[in-house]
Amino acid sequence: MMHRRVLIIDDEESIQLVVQFGLKLSAGWDVLVASSGLEGIRQAASEQPDMILLDVMMPEMDGLTTFRELQNNGETRSIPVILLTAKAQASEKRLFNDTGVQGVITKPFNSLELAEQIIKVLDW
């Protein structure tokens, strides 16, 4: 398995911590953390992670807006994005598909199995 750097954009501290620990432990990956959409976009541009885990519901800038901003930015456009969402409704899933994100992972998830899910979704 390749070494990877993942950026998680989520306003929930507990999720940040658990994902950080889970991905490091199970796959040896490094996890960068951003607590808001704006901070996430800045970090994505400067750190160039291999992929982004993006929470859908965040205050101020929500996940889909953040995703659009990432797409509009030449420095971050090519970074694959997987959305994190609470139990997605069927209609929401269609909405997500139309946006062009690479995948959707529903919460709650086991962070130990997250790397496996990411690899599968992104065909790494």
Binding site: F21, M57, A86, K107, N110, E116, I119
Partner: protein, 508 residues
């Protein structure tokens, strides 16, 4: 590399498919010996993993049949019998290797790798082609010391070509080898993967024609400095630890410990949020809640769902999810909802306060499936019934009898898990006991009536209390019917049917 797995045990099959899939193999699965025989006759596989005990045609016979038909592919037998006799039988039937269940997935994949190497012209785990280096043990590819970031298919393409480095591979061959039958790939798929792979090789300084095209024939590795060579020497790896895609027991234990530490830190945070929701309800009691406040409460509840789920507290998460729905900014909250919502909130607070230690890793679904009546085709018309009672014997008897009356029955003897199970089962009708440890059926019913999703679900009480006052309380809490124990399944079934018919009539 394409592998056929013939195994009738769903769990073993899922495990194998996931594990081998993660190792970049294309997997086809058959669950009985005859299907296995058909698959193996139609497609070319690089390896067969074969269970011994199989329906229709057993593994030993299938193995013999394949060898008699001239198939030379490596065969790895799986069996639960750890005796010399069983092993001899398998190996004599033509198997190349033999693994006893339960097996260590790591060992199994290592054996798979070894068997696949044996059949190739390049039998070493590390393959070199000029500056290109592929390590099949760690699944890493580097060029001139620079690690390449390859997808599963790109890796598979390179590995396939390096294993038989003197050959030309047609697109058909590549499709057969790297894609499973279910994927329905087309030749253009091979071209696009090949284009991306070449792009990546080029980016790290490899010659553009390292993988050359022979028009009309396919792809081949272009000889570098007079030809490819294979040496057994370690690749320049940047990351020496080969991480297991499947978490080991040790990792799970470490993760659980970390979760527990984090939970200790986050618990007060969760309780603060519950408190803030409580304040919002206090405000609602005296005046309408401003939209900004309601949106904030919604966000808090939403975050609670995420946090509690992360720690695997499914019951608390289900309650938080109900609250999240109630506080949704599109829903107008009325002061009359305050009390039932406060009950939910109190329940949530209790769940958080009493969870000192997490004992299980979070699982997205930790709930028993519905107990079906076993009659295929009937389930669509069948009503789902959830039976909540702290008496397991009563649950067992009644659920069996009610299945006989055409219900699909889910049972719960621990009301502490009520909300999580309710959410998972999505029943059409509920039968509740009144007096249960730590939870009162009347309170549960009241909470149900405050949750928009469950406001209308028919609730029947089944209780030992026969007094008028309790019955009155039950109806006040939102019950649709009240029945006294003991009761026959026939009577209960009639009352439930009656209730459901009336609801249907009213809705029409």
């Amino acid at each position: 590399m394409r592998i056929l797995v013939v195994e009738d045990d769903d769990i073993v099959l899922t495990l194998l498919t996931a594990r081998l899939g993660a190792e970049h193999y294309a997997i086809d699965a058959a669950t009985d010996g005859l299907t296995g025989w058909e698959y193996a006759s139609i497609y070319d596989y690089d390896l067969l993993i074969l269970d011994v005990v199989l329906p229709k045609l057993d593994g030993i016979s299938l193995c013999q049949k394949l060898r008699q038909a001239g198939h030379t592919l490596p065969i790895l037998m799986l069996t639960s019998q750890d005796t010399s006799m069983a092993k001899i039988l398998g190996l004599d039937a033509g198997a190349d290797d033999y693994v006893v269940k339960p097996f260590d997935p790591e060992e199994l994949t290592a054996r798979v790798r070894a068997l696949l190497r044996r059949g190739s012209t390049n039998p070493l785990p590390i393959m070199l082609w000029g500056d290109l280096c592929l390590n099949s043990s760690t699944q890493e590819v580097s060029y001139g010391g620079t690690l390449l970031d390859l997808t599963a298919k790109e890796y598979g393409l390179l590995e396939m070509m390096l294993r038989e480095s003197q050959r030309v591979f047609s697109k058909d061959e590549i499709l057969d080898c790297l894609w499973s039958a279910e994927e329905f790939p087309v030749e253009a798929t091979v071209r696009s993967h090949m284009r991306r792979l070449r792009g990546k090789l080029l980016a790290v300084g490899a010659p553009a024609d390292l993988i050359a095209t022979s028009h009309g024939r396919g792809y081949y590795l272009k000889p570098v400095n007079g030809g490819g060579e294979t040496l057994f020497e370690p690749a320049p790896l940047t990351d020496p630890e080969p991480p297991a895609p499947h978490p080991s027991d040790d990792q799970q234990a470490q993760y659980l410990e970390f979760l527990n530490q984090t939970w200790q830190e986050q618990r007060s945070n969760c309780l603060q949020r519950v408190h803030r929701l409580d304040l919002a309800l206090d405000q609602l009691q005296t005046q309408a809640l401003p939209l900004t406040e309601q949106s904030e409460a919604y966000r808090i509840a939403h975050n609670l769902v995420g946090t509690l789920g992360t720690f695997g507290l499914l019951e608390a998460m289900a309650i938080a999810r109900l609250l999240e729905q109630e506080f949704h900014p599109d829903i107008y909250l009325e002061p009359s909802q305050v009390n039932p919502l406060k009950l939910l909130l109190a329940n949530l607070q209790q769940q958080i306060e009493t969870t000192d230690t997490l004992v299980n890793l979070p699982k997205p679904t930790g709930v028993e499936p519905l107990v079906g009546n076993g009659q295929a085709g009937r389930s669509l018309a069948t009503q789902r019934l959830m039976l909540v009672d702290d008496d397991p014997i009563l649950l067992q008897t009644l659920s069996k009898q009610l299945q006989g009356h055409g219900f699909q029955v889910g049972v719960l003897d621990d009301p502490q898990q009520f909300w999580a199970v309710l959410e998972n089962l999505q029943p059409d009708v509920l039968v509740l006991d009144i007096q249960m440890p730590q939870m009162n059926g009347l309170v549960l019913c009241q909470s149900l009536r405050s949750a928009s999703q469950w406001q209308k679900i028919p609730v029947l009480f089944l209780s030992t209390f026969a007094d008028a006052q309790t019955q009155h309380q039950a109806f006040a809490a939102g019950a649709d019917d009240y029945l006294c124990k003991p009761i026959t399944a026939q009577d209960l079934s009639d009352r439930i049917h009656h209730r459901l018919q009336r609801i249907q009539a009213v809705s029409q």
